[in-house]
């Protein structure tokens, strides 16, 4: 297995081509990841920007143990959660009424369906780090196992195992909701 430790000094000359390449390659996956947590495309984009700004800023101060990709995913995750935490603090100041309204709206849109989505989102966040990154790359960047392995500096076999693990954990966490989802989906698909 060939690890690809990231050499800090390499990539960070401002808006260099390397940063551009890095950004363009990973934007879709990272954006999707932030979006999963935050449910706001614009905000998700800002989170990705923030991660890249910090990456360039701290260039040499970052100790990246695994791969740059893992680092990026981890950063987006942390950055998103930080934002969410902040939002939660703000939310406390909102009135009870408006919160109730929100919940009512949510229920009106899709019955119980958003509950599964929320559950899935939460469950994704609870996956182990590497497991989650592999899953997200596969799911949202639609990368082949081989590509994921190359990017993360791990073996294809590890990718296979991590994917199996991801689905196993997710299934375990969503047990009760899955039946409902299957039911809803079949209903939606019917004309």
């Amino acid at each position: 297995m060939e690890l690809r430790p990231w050499n800090a000094g390499q990539k960070l000359n401002g808006a260099s081509q390397e940063v551009e390449q890095l950004f363009k390659t990973h934007f879709k996956g990272l954006h999707a990841y932030a979006y999963i947590i935050l449910r706001d495309s614009h905000l998700a984009e800002e989170i990705v920007q923030e991660v890249f700004v910090k990456l360039c800023e701290r260039a040499s101060g970052i100790n990246i143990q695994t791969s740059l990709e893992s680092y990026l995913y981890r950063s987006v995750y942390n950055e998103s959660l930080n934002h969410q935490k902040h939002e939660k603090v703000k939310a406390r100041y909102r009135t009870m009424m408006s919160r109730k309204q929100e919940i009512a709206e949510q229920q009106a849109i899709g019955g119980d369906y958003p509950a599964l989505e929320t559950r899935l989102r939460l469950a994704l966040g609870e996956l182990p780090q590497q497991c989650r990154t592999v899953f997200l790359m596969s799911r949202f960047e639609e990368l082949k196992y081989r590509e994921i392995a190359d990017r993360m500096g791990i073996s294809v076999k590890t990718v296979e195992n991590q994917m199996g693990k991801a689905l196993r954990i997710l299934r375990h966490k969503l047990k009760g909701f899955l039946l409902l989802a299957i039911f809803l989906l079949t209903n939606i698909l019917k004309p």
Partner: protein, 329 residues
Amino acid sequence: MRVKEMSDRERDRLLVKHLLGEASPEESEKIQQWIATQSSHRQYADEFQRIWVESRRLAPAEPVDPAAAWQRFLESGRLTARSARTRTVKLNFLVAKPWSAIAAAIILVAAGTYTWWKLDVQTAPLTWQSGAAIRIDTLPDGSRVTLNKFSSVELPGGKTSRAVKLSGEAFFEVTHDTHHPFTVQVNDVTIRDVGTGFNVRSTNGTTEIIVETGAVLVTAGSDAVKATAGEKVLVTAGGAKITRTPVSNRLYQYYRTKSFLCRKTPLSELITALNEAYGTHIVVQNEAINRLQITATFDNEDLDSILAVITRTFGLNIQKKGGSIILKP
């Protein structure tokens, strides 16, 4: 049955591979066999598929264009806003590559040492100069020098020398070395220390030496005067006259200690010190005010609060006129 031997971990690995079309024909066949054996297996596989399908829906609905996103990132100015900071970060590259840093350091030191000897820096003159701020330096022999504003000391004999040339004002704390006396040259006056802290000040050719600790030998022309702690030596321009008097005040210390120490000090002396320290032009309306004696310590205080104390103590008034501050009854 072969299928049953499969571990959960192996099963999940193959199931997902199959689901994503990553499995080889043999692997697909193997997992399909497993699915076919029981309805609960079928359901298990279905649930995996649901999760896979459902999780897709978590992604943003609208298509994402990385190139456009990059463009927006550039236009946001967030990347360029930190370019100024990047410059300092770059220095840290060496830290990230310790070996190259060490190698570079060794080469630099070696090259530097060689050049240093080559140029005979041992005897090259050294100069320390202050600008608008007080400056404290340690000379090569370990002696410390506090330079008042716009002053300088020079070691014409290089780093092994202990013969200093001064212009302006400085306070010396000399590292004692019996075999190598420390001397200060200023306005044709030579001050030779005997393990000492002393202040030397040169204004318009006049040299004033105040000894704080130890003793010095002041030589001007053919005259020599020895002064000890608490004594002041004044040498007029050209060394025509040397006088030794007790130190009347410690105001001379202000640039070093940031405090004005007055012990029955005539106001005129404090005003002179203030004018120098703050670059002001404080004047008195009549001589009587000059002779007023003040006892006070102003520690790190600004001019306005010092003036406030003075006016309150003596019942004086302040008039600001042009660039001048006039003290009057």
